[in-house]
C-alpha cells in the first residue's frame, strides 16, 4: 500500500454549501472518493491510499489535470483505491466535485 497527497490551488472556489459527498466503491479496478468542503479559499488537496505501488507520477498528472479542468477550490478529496485506471480516477473525482455543486 502507498499513501501520499497532492496539493493545488484552483482557479475558483466551488459554489454551494454541501458539506460532503462520497462516490464510488473501493473494489477491484474502482475507487471511492470522499469529498469534504474543509479548505480555505481556493486550496484543494487529494489524499490517496492505493494498493498499487509505484505510480505516484501518474497519479500526480491525473490529479493536476483534474485541478485544472474542474477548479475544485475549497475541497479535500480522500481516495481509497483498489487499482483503478486513470480514466476511472478522473471520472470519480469529477463526480465528487459535481456532487458538491449540488448536481446529481
Amino acid at each position: 500500500m502507498e499513501r501520499f497527497e497532492i496539493r493545488g490551488t484552483a482557479a475558483r472556489r466551488v459554489p454551494g454549501d454541501r458539506r460532503q459527498a462520497i462516490t464510488g466503491v473501493n473494489a477491484s479496478g474502482n475507487l471511492e472518493v470522499l469529498v469534504e468542503r474543509v479548505l480555505p479559499g481556493n486550496e484543494c488537496v487529494v489524499e490517496v491510499a492505493t494498493t498499487i505501488t509505484g505510480f505516484r507520477d501518474l497519479w500526480q498528472a491525473v490529479i493536476e489535470d483534474f485541478f485544472e479542468r474542474c477548479a475544485p477550490g475549497g475541497l479535500r478529496f480522500s481516495i481509497n483505491d483498489g487499482g483503478a485506471r486513470p480514466d476511472v480516477v478522473t471520472l470519480r473525482l469529477m463526480q465528487g466535485a459535481r456532487l458538491m455543486e449540488g448536481g446529481e
Partner: protein
C-alpha cells in the same frame, strides 16, 4: 407507469449500498450514523497492505419508510464481498441494540437489513466471526423487545456461506 426502469433509476441488485437506502426510504429522510467523514475504518486491513473503506463497507442510520420511522443498514457487497470485519460488525450491532433500547419509548419499530455479504473477512477472521455472533444475538434481542427485523438480501446464497444464512434465518 411503465415497469421498465427509468434512465436515472438503478436496479436493486446493481445498486451500491447508499443507492439502495436512497431508493427504499422516503426521499431525503435518511440520517446516517457514523458516516464516512468520521473514518471509522478497519484497523486490521492496513496490516495486510489493503486499503479500507471510509464506512468499513456498511451504511447505518435511520429514516422513514412510507412515513414511519425505521432503522436501516446496508452492506456494500463490492467492498471485500460485503464481508464482516470488526468495525463493520460493531456498526450493525450498535444499530440493533439502539433499536432494542428505544423499543416502546417512541423509537423505530422496525430495522431493515439490506444484506449483501460473503461472510467474514479472512484478514480479521476472529473479530468478524465474533461480530456475526453478536449480530445474531442483537437481532433476537431486538425482536424480543418487539422490533421487527426484516432482511432483504442481494447476495447469492452459495457465496454468502453459513454465517450469512444464519443472519437471514435470525431476521426471518
Amino acid at each position: 407507469m411503465s415497469d421498465l426502469l427509468q434512465a436515472h433509476e438503478v436496479d436493486f441488485y446493481e445498486a451500491s449500498a447508499r443507492e439502495r437506502i436512497a431508493g427504499i426510504l422516503d426521499s431525503g429522510s435518511f440520517r446516517e450514523f457514523i458516516g464516512p467523514e468520521q473514518r471509522a475504518m478497519s484497523p486490521h486491513l492496513p496490516q495486510f497492505n489493503l486499503t479500507g473503506a471510509f464506512d468499513d463497507g456498511i451504511v447505518v442510520g435511520s429514516g422513514k419508510l412510507a412515513g414511519r420511522a425505521v432503522f436501516i443498514a446496508a452492506q456494500e457487497g463490492r467492498f471485500l464481498g460485503g464481508a464482516f470485519g470488526e468495525v463493520h460488525g460493531a456498526k450493525l450491532v450498535g444499530l440493533l441494540r439502539a433499536a432494542r433500547d428505544q423499543a416502546g419509548k417512541g423509537g423505530p419499530r422496525a430495522v431493515l437489513l439490506l444484506l449483501d455479504t460473503g461472510g467474514v473477512r479472512l484478514q480479521e477472521a476472529n473479530a468478524g466471526e465474533l461480530s456475526i455472533s453478536e449480530t445474531i444475538n442483537a437481532i433476537i434481542e431486538a425482536r424480543l423487545a418487539g422490533v421487527a427485523v426484516v432482511a432483504l438480501t442481494a447476495d447469492a446464497p452459495a457465496r454468502s456461506g453459513a454465517a450469512a444464512s444464519s443472519l437471514r434465518a435470525a431476521a426471518a
